[in-house]
Structures are given as C-alpha cells and as structure tokens.
Amino acid sequence: MPVIQTYSIFNRKSYLSQPAIKISGVHKYFGALHALKGIDLTIEPGEFFALLGPNGAGKSTLINILAGLIAPSSGNISVMGFDVGSQYRQARQLLGVVPQELVFDPFFNVREMLRFQAGYFGRGRENDAWVDEILEGLGLADKANTNMRRLSGGMKRRALIAQALAHKPPVIVLDEPTAGVDVELRQMLWEFIKKLNRDGHTIILTTHYLEEAETLCSRVGMMKQGQIVALDSTANLLNKFSGKHLRLTLGNVVLPANVQELVRYAENGVYTFALEDMAQIEFVLSALRTASIKVLDMQLNEADLEEVFLSLVGSTPQAGSSRGVLR
C-alpha cells in the first residue's frame, strides 16, 4: 500500500489502518418497503470488490447511502473511519462515485467540468496534471475542449467516470460503469481502473457483467432482496461451486426421474446439469438415450460466477440477453 499523507481537515487521524468502507447494521425503509435489511460489510483498503445482485436487490440504495445521497433509516457507514453522516466532509473527500445514470452539464466542456469537479473538493490548478492523466487514461484527451452535449454516449460515460476521479479519491465506487458501452471502451476502462487499483485505490464495482467481476475483483458480495447472501473471495466462491456443468439442448421433454436431481436449472428447453465428476456425463447421456430423448446440442463448462450467482440469487438472465449479463 502506498503512503497516504494526512491533512488538517482529517484532524491528523490516521485512517490508513481503517477499513476503506465499513457498513454496520444498515436498514433502509421506503415507506412500507424494507429495501435494506441490516447490511454489514467491511471492505479493506486496496481491495477490488464486486457488489452483485439483480435489479431491486438494494445495491444502488446502498451506494447512494454511502455517497450521502440517501439517509439510512438506521445503521452506520464510514469511509476510512469517517462517518458519512456526521463527518460527511471528510468522508466525501475520500470518495469518488460514478453514478449509474448518464448525466452531464450541457453548459461546459470536458476539461471545464473536470476542473469544476476538482474545485468543489478544494483542488485548483495544481490538480491539472492529474486531470490530464485522467483524460489520457480514459481516451478523452482529444475531446477535452468539446462541449459535453456534443459527446457520444460512450464518451459521455468516460467523462462521467473522469469526473468521479477528478479529486483523486482513494476509494472509488463504480455503479454499473460499463452498462451499454462497447467492448473497446470496456477494455480501456478496466485497464485504467486496474492501474488505479494497483496504485492503492480501493475499487467497489457493481455490474451486470459477471465476467467482469470474476476477472477483476478479488472479493464478491452478492445481494438479494436487501440482504447480503454471499460474501467471500471470488476464488472461494468458485471453489464452493466447483464441478462441471453440462448444458444440454433437449427441447420440450420430460426428463427421466433418475437425472432430474442433477438439474441445476432449465430454461427454454436447455437443461444445465451440475456434475461432480466426468463419469456422470455418461450416466446422464445413457439415461436420456434410454428415454429416447435426442440431444440437440451439448456444452461442458467449468463453474463460473454466473453459476454461483444463479444458485445463490436464483435469477436467470432474461431471454435475449447475452450470457453472463443479468438485467
């Protein structure tokens, strides 16, 4: 971990030893809706953490509370030891949040927006070198003097990320940063974010793209209906669900009883069987042959984060969406 210098605003508090994020017993009610049901979560400095869950799980509510946009009904959240409610100035100084919605100010160009954003956090022209670095790293250098209105959707998304980084926050929250962006931008963005993480920035990511979480994040939290249902390192989660997955396209059939217990899930005539070893492949195929069921297509996969997610959260990708994308 790099050395982080303390400043007078932080009252010389040594926050290096503090968790990057500490969430304790957070509840949130929206009227009768109990959106967060007692969330406890600690994220250590330097982690690359993924927060996953289907729509309505409470991820964005949790992030909005962390960012100070929503007040919790009860519980506490701190950023490097500073409470986001009572010590909001210090907490926000340490936090950079990329909002999910593609919002922008139409009056200004990209560089002006970044300077304003840094200025709100007390940074002036001495921050320009960092602004240039962000512009370069996110492929925005040639658009620096372009009005925000004239940027394409992908460029606007980059500018949104750049704005969250403008004050060089040690803790960065990316709420669905790659939703609706092309592959090239996604790769560029992740290379830049990985560099930031290597330099000591803590990254918290919510995404629908499970491959991203599996590739990038060292630890994963999964949310369902306002609760964290899984919290472990990515490797441990995958180990827990180790084994092979046999995906067979069979059409509309009735499976023999002796293989039904191996079915992890089924959708539109495609059946996924969770197998403990390779020998079970022949067992399943033999049972299907005996029942005169024809195999139209066959795939054999290692368990991935999507399998873990589906097992724990129970959602399936919507029809028409690409594999690994949950909406």
Partner: protein, 266 residues
C-alpha cells in the same frame, strides 16, 4: 499515475475554493448564454418603458415634479433585478435536477451554507448586471437624479438576495419545469406587476392601497425608487425593515431545507 500521496487539500483552501468554484460555475452558466439571460430582459424592460411611458405619461399622476417616464425607470430596473435574480437560481437548480447533474454537487464536501451562498451570490450578480444595463440604456431617454445612492445599492442588493433565495426555494421544491412555471406565473409575476412598478399606490382606492402594502415586492420597488427621488409611498426605513426581515426569514428556511436535504437527498 496516481500515487495517493496527496488525497486532500488543506482546510483553508478547501473552505474557500469549494464554494468559489460553485459560484464561478453558476456565474459562467448565465454568462455563457448572456444574450438570453442579460440582453433579453434588458430589451423587455426597454419595450415596457417605451410603450407605458408613451401611453400613460399624460394619464397617470405620480409624485410632484417627477415626470412619469422618470418615475417608471427605477421601477422597471428593480422589477428586472428581482425577476432575473429569481430566474438565475431557480432555473439553474431545476435544470440540474431534471437533467440529473445536480448529483455532481451533492457528492462533494460542500456544506449547505456554502451551497446557499454560491447560488445566492450568482443570483445577485445576474440581477445587478441586468439592472445596471437597463439603467445605462435608460439614461439615453431620461436624466435621472440620484437622491441617495446608498438606498439604491442596499435595496438592489437586498431585493436580489431575497428573490435569489426565493429562487433557490422554488428550485428545490419544483420537480418539473411546469411546477417552476406555475411558481413564476402565479406568484412572482403578479407580485412584481402589482407592486407599484407602473403607478404610485396613492393613485389607488384605499382598499387596494392596503392590499398593495401586503405585497413585499412593493417595499423593494418603493425603497429603491426612494433612492432616486428622495420620496416614496412609505418611509424607506419601513421598507428596509420589511425587506431585510423577509430576506432573513427566507434565508433561514432555505438553509433549513438544504440542511435537511429536502427534495435533494431522500
């Protein structure tokens, strides 16, 4: 690449630079579209001046020895100051809310007082710029004496501050542009047109004089006009007390709204 060795500025620079940046952004926001935010209200005020002075100058009796056109100019200046101060803070906030970019300010360590001051000062500046432009152009038409420049300055500052604050309240309260238009059309416009801009309230029947005295805009216009002619419908000290109290009251309400996060932070 970032080395994280300097994650925060010093306390003093942050205390000043944060709100200064927000103020600068708010000033640039209206200056970038000055044709719409400054030139247009100046032209509107001049059209009022030309039409009303031409139509009414031989029909309306105002103060002794004060021609109607001269009487009209301070009222028009102040009305424009008030309307533009309101328009600046209210339109900035409602646009930011509707477009969603207000989140960039809400995520910062700016305090509610700093937020208030930045929007307030930007509103005052726009109101005064528009008022000054109208004054400079109106000087081509009429020679205006100035009896008490301090009253003019104080009422212009207090009036624009009051309407700038009201604009912040309206901007926070309104969720849609039509709500903001309703606030403007059903509150701001009637109060400013019925405040004695175009007439002295002494020319009204007694009942309507009493009603006019319930309108806080009347005291802003009358106090401002007193600075030019040394005479008005009520004492400038009464106007000053009423306008000052109204501003303090609205400022406290606004600060309370901002501190609680009303309609900004759920």
């Amino acid at each position: 690449m970032s080395d994280l060795k300097s994650i925060g500025p010093s306390k003093s620079s942050m205390a000043l630079r944060g709100p200064w940046t927000l103020l600068k952004k708010e000033l640039l926001r209206f200056w970038r579209v000055a044709f719409q935010t400054v030139a247009a209200p100046v032209i509107t005020a001049l059209l009022y001046l030309l039409i009303f002075s031409h139509v009414l100058k031989s029909h309306v009796q105002v103060y002794d020895g004060v021609p109607y056109t001269a009487f009209l100019i301070p009222g028009l200046i102040m009305m424009s100051v008030l309307q533009n101060a309101f328009a600046n803070s209210s339109s900035s906030l409602i646009q930011s809310k509707v477009m969603g970019n207000i989140v960039f300010i809400l995520l910062t360590p700016l305090t509610h007082l700093q937020f208030f001051l930045a929007f307030l000062i930007a509103a005052i500046v726009r109101g005064l710029v528009v008022g000054l432009c109208i004054y400079l152009v109106a000087m081509w038409f009429v020679d205006l004496n100035i009896a008490n420049p301090w009253l003019i300055i104080v009422f212009a500052l207090l009036g624009s501050a009051l309407l700038g604050t009201l604009g912040i309240i309206a901007g926070i309260w309104a969720d849609r542009f039509d709500q903001m238009a309703a606030f403007q059309n059903f509150i701001i416009m009637p109060l400013s047109f019925l405040s004695g801009v175009f007439y002295s309230i002494h020319s009204l029947p007694p009942f309507w004089q009493k009603v006019s005295q319930l309108n806080p805009f009347f005291y802003m216009i009358d106090g401002f006009r007193y600075g030019f002619f040394g005479k008005g419908d009520v004492s400038p000290m009464i106007s000053l007390a009423i306008v000052g109290t109204a501003f303090l009251l609205l400022a406290l309400i606004t600060l309370k709204m901002l501190k609680s996060g009303y309609k900004l932070r759920s």
